[in-house]
């Protein structure tokens, strides 16, 4: 057990090192220049060259990479070119909206998906099942940002229940900030629920026909105990995997949704950093996101062991 955990941890380090290298190289070979963007359209070539030197962008790529790696080892992701603050600070500031958006979307998604998925499987072929499958199919093909635009149009513009965008003005209370997450969380949650519903249904179908379920029934156990206790527990592993991956996807910033709703989260930070070629922020953010992905996967693997004692790595 301990050995397998250690093995996994080692694997994580390797993955992170690969991510750091690939991101660094891709960012540098992409055309575009932070200095040119910062100085504006009328800047001269000489001005741009001077600023590049000042930003440390004039060295060779391997040189810059070694410098960067040395910093990362010490937990220093560098200084954002545009925000004039450390990348870590920038990321921490954006963590709140992204974190709560993830939690709310996931809550909405699971609250919808689990009951619907279970019931669909249980009443396989029924009108409910067919309706649920069709709607899930439809929801899975709708981009969440588009759903978001519809929500803005209806709930914010027409009904005026919410602000159309942003995360509250100066001095906004926690409650006011959270209110800005309702629409994006709904949009993301609904779309994510489709995938989880389909997995729940498929996974439940697999186990509902198993012998032990029949045995449980023949013992005279109540139906809902059979379904929720015996069947669901065994069906949970693939469902958990999907929920975990959805969570990771959401943490990494529902990039487009955040941009549409003007949320100052990790996703929109990455987008704006890419557009203005803020290298340190792109690198730092992607490294942290990759780290979270790896971590979520690790946690899910560990959960498997808890749920299913047969699982051994």
């Amino acid at each position: 057990m301990l050995r397998s955990v250690l093995n996994r941890l080692l694997g994580m380090v390797v993955v992170m090192a690969l991510v750091a290298t690939i991101v660094f190289v891709i960012v540098r070979v992409t055309p575009g220049d932070p200095a040119a963007i910062m100085l504006g359209p009328d800047a001269t070539a000489a001005d741009i060259a001077t600023l590049r030197t000042k930003l440390g962008l004039d060295g060779s790529i391997p040189q810059q990479f070694l410098h960067y790696l040395a910093g990362v080892m010490q937990g220093d992701f560098g200084q954002s070119i545009f925000l004039n603050e450390p990348v870590t600070t920038a990321l921490l500031q954006r963590a709140e909206p992204t974190f709560f958006l993830t939690v709310f979307s996931l809550m909405i998604a699971t609250v919808i998906a689990l009951p619907v998925g279970i019931l669909s499987a249980y009443r396989r072929g029924s009108l409910f099942d067919q309706a649920a499958t069709t709607i899930a199919m439809f929801a899975a093909s709708v981009p969440s940002f588009w759903l978001g635009l519809l929500f803005i149009q209806f709930f914010a513009v027409r009904l005026g229940w919410f602000d159309t965008s942003g995360y509250g003005g100066p001095g906004a209370s926690f409650g006011e900030r959270i209110a800005h997450l309702v629409l994006p969380a709904l949009a993301l949650g609904l779309v994510s629920s489709a995938l989880i519903t389909r997995f729940t249904r498929a996974s439940m179908l697999d186990v509902l026909n198993d012998d032990y379920v029949r045995t449980a029934r023949s013992k005279g156990m109540s139906e809902w105990r059979v379904v929720l206790k015996h069947a669901l527990k065994n069906a949970l592993i693939p469902i958990l995997t999907v929920i975990g991956l959805t969570a990771a996807l959401l943490i990494s910033g529902a990039v487009v949704t955040e941009t549409v709703f003007g949320l100052p989260g990790v996703g929109s930070l990455v987008v704006s950093a890419v557009l203005r070629r803020d290298y340190p922020v792109i690198q730092g953010a992607l490294l942290v996101i990759a780290g979270l992905y790896v971590l979520v996967n690790f946690v899910i693997d560990m959960l498997y062991i808890l749920i299913d004692p047969r699982v051994r790595y």
Partner: protein, 509 residues
């Protein structure tokens, strides 16, 4: 007695109306901007967004009045210019306070101008002709030039790469970290990608008189102005329609109908600027002026503008480099501008130039959808004339990088507001992408830049425009208007290329 009472009563009845007519202090507005500015140091950037926000915080010695003439701001008056046009003696206003409470003196002006000449793109341009900078006393500075240079005052007036005046103790900072100026509003708080909060500066002393463009008295009715970055144009539109933003900048023209009803209303700045095809005169196909002339003849601005802006409400087919209303307006040389294109002439010019079928590379992006639409129409017309055309559609940051390499493109597409001083347009410099440099250009531009009399300069500009049309270093497509949305109770906002919100007030406040 009764009559007296009646008279008093009728005056009293008038009072509410009077109070309503006079704008009242108070209120907070949210202004949706196109994004987060790269810096709050307007010396360090020529980006419009930086200028729009920071012009509320800092001020320059001079600025523009509502006819784009130069008018004093922190300077007490227009400069005394020596007869040889080489020395500018600038009197400063007294009793001006910075946001940190200190007084502005000539020492601050000297330190700021020196920083400007070192840091700012336009400052460096000025530094080339400035031989010395002196403080004559606490309230007077003197600028001495190496040669007569008329654009100087415009350079001192612009709000991007701006010659802002900051306290001398901050002038050594680069990048600037203390955002302290003399403007009517001061920086209160900033959360990147969330808001920039400006609050009324109580120590501000406006100029006497009435507001006049960017100049004159700057009134401080609003308590706070908050600039909210909303990069997605649709979200800006929805926010305006929902009444969340008192002002939403730079909206797509398609949204005109949508913002016309209810909680917001359209505000059109006419004309805002000009879309431009910049030709690479240094390398490749367009280093041959004959090819450039063929392009000039082939393009059909009427169709290009219609495709780009959809309705005549938003553009004008106009070859003059400055539209009517500007002192620089003239039609000299514009015969070469063909609203519907002249395919036959273009084909003939192309044949004379010995065009060998090498593809003409147009570098553009979809950051501004109208650039891309114009590129598509241009491609069709150029192909009709016999060109082979390649569209190189990249994202904006890539475009700004690639245009600096003359090996990569033949035309790139951009746009510009009508700058009050023609010689500040990018292509007037030999070093900006496009690299237009010719004897004819230098001759007319030198004459134009060394004349200080506005009337004579307007006449000399006709020669400049003629050379622009003769040598086609750029192709001006036409004039276009900008669309913004403002709340019906927001008053006092004058449409401007760099919108400003001093003088603005909320009705019924």
């Amino acid at each position: 007695m009764k009559r007296v009472l009646q008279v008093v009563a009728s005056f009293a009845a008038l009072l509410p109306a009077l109070a309503w007519a006079e704008p009242q202090k108070g209120g907070v507005i949210d202004v949706a901007t196109v994004g987060e500015p790269p810096t709050l140091d307007p010396m360090a950037s020529t980006a419009d967004l930086v200028g729009i926000i920071t012009q509320h915080i800092y001020e320059t010695l001079y600025t523009f009045d509502n006819k784009w003439g130069i008018t004093p701001l922190l300077a007490a008056d227009m400069p005394t210019i020596s007869p040889d046009c080489l020395t500018y003696t600038i009197p400063l206003r007294t009793g001006i306070k910075f946001h940190d409470g200190s007084d502005m003196t000539s020492a601050d002006v000297m330190a700021s101008l020196k920083r400007w000449m070192k840091v700012a793109t336009r400052g460096k341009q000025a530094a080339d002709v400035i031989s010395s900078l002196d403080a004559l006393d606490e309230r007077t500075v003197k600028i001495t030039l190496k040669k007569p240079y008329a654009p100087l005052l415009s350079l001192l007036s612009l709000n991007n790469a701006a010659a802002i005046i900051i306290p001398s103790e901050n002038a050594d900072e680069d990048p600037l970290t203390k955002f302290i100026g003399t403007g009517p509003y001061m920086l209160k708080d900033r959360k990147p990608d969330q808001f920039i909060q400006l609050a009324r500066f109580d120590g501000y002393r406006p100029r006497d008189g009435e507001p006049d463009g960017y100049g004159g008295a700057r009134k401080q009715y609003l308590d706070e102005i908050r600039f909210v970055p909303v990069p997605d144009p649709n979200t800006r539109v929805e926010g305006a329609v929902a009444g969340q933003f008192a002002y939403a900048d730079s909206l797509p023209v398609e949204s005109y109908d949508k913002i016309s009803g209810g909680k917001t209303k359209p505000l059109i700045l006419k004309p805002f600027g000009w879309p431009v095809f910049v030709m690479n005169t240094k390398q490749g196909l367009n280093s041959d002026v004959r090819i450039r002339k063929a392009i000039q003849a082939a393009l059909a601005p009427e169709d290009m503008l219609l495709a780009a802006f959809g309705s005549k409400d938003f553009y004008a087919v106009d070859g003059a480099m400055y539209p009517e209303g500007f002192a620089w307006h003239s039609d000299t040389g514009t015969e070469a501008y063909k609203p519907e294109g002249d395919t036959e002439k273009a084909a003939a010019l192309l044949k004379d130039a010995g065009y060998d079928g090498k593809p003409l590379r147009i570098l553009t992006s979809r950051q501004y959808e109208f650039h891309y639409k114009m590129a598509q129409v241009a491609k069709a017309y150029l192909e009709q004339a016999g060109f082979k055309v390649e569209l190189d559609v990249v994202e904006w940051a890539t475009l700004t990088k690639n245009r600096t390499d003359p090996a990569l493109w033949d035309i790139y597409i951009t746009h510009s507001p009508f700058l009050a001083e023609p010689s500040l347009n990018g292509f007037m410099s030999d070093n900006t992408p496009g690299w237009w440099s010719s004897d004819a250009k230098h001759k007319v531009l030198d004459a134009f830049n060394s004349e200080t009399d506005p009337a004579k300069r307007a006449k000399l500009y006709e020669d400049v425009q003629k050379v622009i049309y003769d040598e086609a270093p750029v192709y001006k497509v036409g004039d276009f208007n900008a669309l913004a949305a403002e709340a019906p109770n927001l008053k006092g906002v004058t449409p401007a290329p760099w919108p400003y919100f001093w003088n603005a007030y909320l009705e019924g406040k």
